[in-house]
């Protein structure tokens, strides 16, 4: 377990729902519902946080949701109990995934790989527990190639990194570097917020 990252997110739990629970979630709701509507089979959800995304999960799915922060999971538990389906929460670091290879049909993330310290290693770990041909669906924010937004995100990252996410990562490239194929990127807002879909090779 990456103790420094765990501590960072344990500390972030206070005020997390206030900052993210209304504006950002309502704004992203249509896109998240669309992405999560494609959940099928045995699903792994990485970094459930306080469980804000559970409200957008389609009912009746079988989902294992992980988070590195026990305090985040404490907030998520009441929301998980309300879910109309099979939703299990686990306290686990993506770098320590202890599932046998090829356990899951799909993996989903939501604003996760802006924060995983070694994103390519984390994505490789996800690929290992996905079945051959299994799919990855990500709702993520990244850096921008457009001025001045790219510069703004670069300048803000040294500050935001201390509190939580990095704002200037190139997550689609990280997905490719981790060995996923058929990588599709759908813009949600500018080239910053995006849905990334990919597949583990057969």
């Amino acid at each position: 377990m990456d103790i420094a990252t765990q501590r960072k997110w344990d500390n972030a739990v206070r005020g997390y729902d206030l900052m993210n629970g209304f504006g950002p979630e309502r704004r992203w709701e249509p896109w998240k519902r669309q992405l999560f509507s494609q959940m099928a089979g045995n699903v792994l959800f990485l970094a459930i946080g306080t469980g804000q995304d559970i409200q957008f999960f389609p009912p009746g799915r079988r989902i294992t949701a992980l988070d590195i922060s026990e305090r985040m999971l404490d907030q998520a538990r009441p929301r998980a109990e309300q879910y109309d389906g099979d939703l299990a929460l686990r306290h686990l670091d993506v770098h320590d995934l202890d599932y046998p290879p090829a356990t899951f049909d799909q993996a989903f993330t939501s604003c996760t790989f802006c924060s995983v310290p070694n994103p390519v290693d984390g994505l490789r770990a996800l690929g290992r527990v996905l079945k051959p041909g299994g799919t990855l669906g990500m709702f993520e924010h990244t850096g921008s190639r457009f001025f001045p937004f790219g510069l703004m995100l670069d300048l803000m990252t040294p500050l935001t990194r201390r509190l939580g996410p990095e704002l200037n990562r190139n997550t689609p490239d990280n997905v490719r570097r981790a060995g996923f194929v058929d990588v599709e990127v759908e813009p949600v807002y500018l080239d910053v917020v995006k849905i990334i879909r990919a597949r583990r090779p057969d």
Binding site: L18, M19, G23, R27, M152, E186, Y189, R197
Partner: protein
């Protein structure tokens, strides 16, 4: 998983929910106006134009960042923060240069800042439509 149907994407090329449209409008014009007031009160008529522009930009970012973080609670994360930061930067630069070139009333500074906030918002809407359109053409 596959890409969504084109019709699905069409509906989301631009934000259409009134709450968020109004939130974007109020946030950007308010921050543009606020930055303009601060910059106009700091920059003197005798200042070199370049110094006024650079200082205006820095003050604009300094004022816009906390405002953007606060407003994002109500109106969204990146969708709110990026245009508001641009509004602050643009308003600071332009009003700084304008204040260095001659006298400017408080009302004129406020109006110019708000107009620049609106311009920044429209520019980001336009860029977003361009990016979404490019994607739609690629997948169709």
């Amino acid at each position: 998983m596959s890409a969504p149907a084109a019709g699905h994407t069409d509906e989301r090329i631009m934000e259409r929910r009134p709450y968020f449209l109004l939130g974007d409008l109020v946030s950007n014009t308010a921050v543009g106006g606020l930055v303009a007031l601060v910059v106009a009160s700091v920059v003197g008529e005798t200042w070199p134009m370049t110094l006024a522009m650079v200082l205006g930009m820095l003050v604009g970012d300094f004022v816009a960042l906390p405002a953007a973080v606060g407003l994002s609670v109500l109106f969204g994360a990146m969708e709110l923060m990026l245009p508001v930061m641009l509004s602050g930067m643009l308003s600071g630069m332009v009003v700084g240069m304008r204040a260095a070139s001659g006298p400017m009333s408080t009302g004129a500074a406020l109006a110019l800042g708000a107009a620049l906030g609106l311009l920044a918002l429209l520019a980001t809407y336009g860029l977003n439509v361009y990016i979404q359109g490019q994607h739609r053409r690629r997948v169709s």
